[in-house]
Amino acid sequence: MRHLLDTQTLSREDALRILDVAEDMADTQQREIKKLPTLRGKTVVNLFFEDSTRTRISFEAAAKRLSADVINFSAKGSSVSKGESLQDTAQTLQAMGADAVVIRHGASGAPRTLATSGWISAGVVNAGDGTHEHPTQALLDAFTIRKRRFGADSRGRDLAGVTVTIVGDILHSRVARSNVWLLDALGAEVTLVAPPTLVPQDVSGWPVRVLYDLDEAIAAGPDALMMLRIQLERMNAAYFPTEREYSRRWGLDPLRLRALGADSIVMHPGPMNRGLEISAEAADSPRSTVLEQVTNGVSVRMAALYLLLAGADDLSTDDPAPTPAKETTR
């Protein structure tokens, strides 16, 4: 695997491979000595153009547990804030010997631009690009669902027949997009719930069901209910009138938590707006996987870094899977 840019072009086989290797990584995290020497001598650069302590720390922990060296580059106050281009920033890091670049950027497509530009030879991991994708988040979400469902017997299993409902600002959510493609590849059935203003104008081609009514979605008894963080700035662009109305119609309040099946899990990528999209009761219930998601995030990111860095440069095709581009017939 040369880069991990998205889940849309990730095959079912590759996805399962990452999840299964993550199981092995998780096992090592149970030992007294949680470190592995596997990536000793490799350098992983965290290139974060957007603030994100949680994801950055998760990648840092993953890299360090594989004995890789970690360099953290935060764009705030750096040369980037003075106008240095993505190209120059990337090439500077490469000149410092980066073997992998974990990039979080506010512009959708920036990791792909970085990976295909020819500016650097390092492998690229997308840690979240604009509103496009966040592949390791989707992978850790799938890992968590699988683990809760199959326990120690998770290896090799997909999510065929598992129903997952994702609630929130789909339009602006890279977590939602990555989850839609990955869950579909693993055989799960996905339902999206949001106010109409926060669903993209044309999702007719997506392998999902779209509902505007959260109670209707919960009545269908999903195996996993994933709540997304709502950004209050959206209120100013007229996506919904008030926090209160959003919470009332699309928040996971105690009543809805009770209506949810006893075996259903409640998920949230964090950070949570307690009381807005998710009640404290839901966040702290035994059905909530919020903290496991964080732990699993390290295992999944260890797997991703291992698969990207451990082997020799792939002798097969190096380029990221070409995205389907259809043009007008001549």
Binding site: R17, I33, K35, P37, G311
Partner: protein
Amino acid sequence: MSTRIVLHEADIARALTRISHEILESNKGPDGLVLLGIPTRGVTLANRIGALVEQFGGTAVPIGSLDVTMYRDDLHRNPTRAPQRTHIPDGGIDGKVVVLVDDVLFSGRSIRAALDALQDIGRPAAVRLATLVDRGHRELPIRPDFVGKNLPSSREERVNVRLNENDGSDSVTIEGR
């Protein structure tokens, strides 16, 4: 390219029987033993040896597997491999006599990696090495405690171990120029 059968099914069975007796003899019985096979075929062999040790020694002996992929020192020279299962039996390895089981001992690097892996898992009282075939050409100061067959070979030759559980039949062959 010529292929020569070095061990037939019966030879393998005899070798494993002898190894099992030797393990019990050197340990003065089955107590404190833990067999850890190195995937893939080392695990199969560990299971067979474990059954024999139980048969001769009278007590079941814990059997597990130890994957060494993450500890190899030559990862960057080969395509990425998916790691295999590491299963440490209940009871762990602290204070135990761990017998590593592998099918072919060659450069010794897999065993070095296995020793590193063991170190991160616990502190055994002792570590022994059982191998079905020792084909020489060691690159590290590693020696086996229990050997099925010493097989002098040249570097260019390929030694193939087939086991019923993995490949449908039992044999050890050497393939040369």
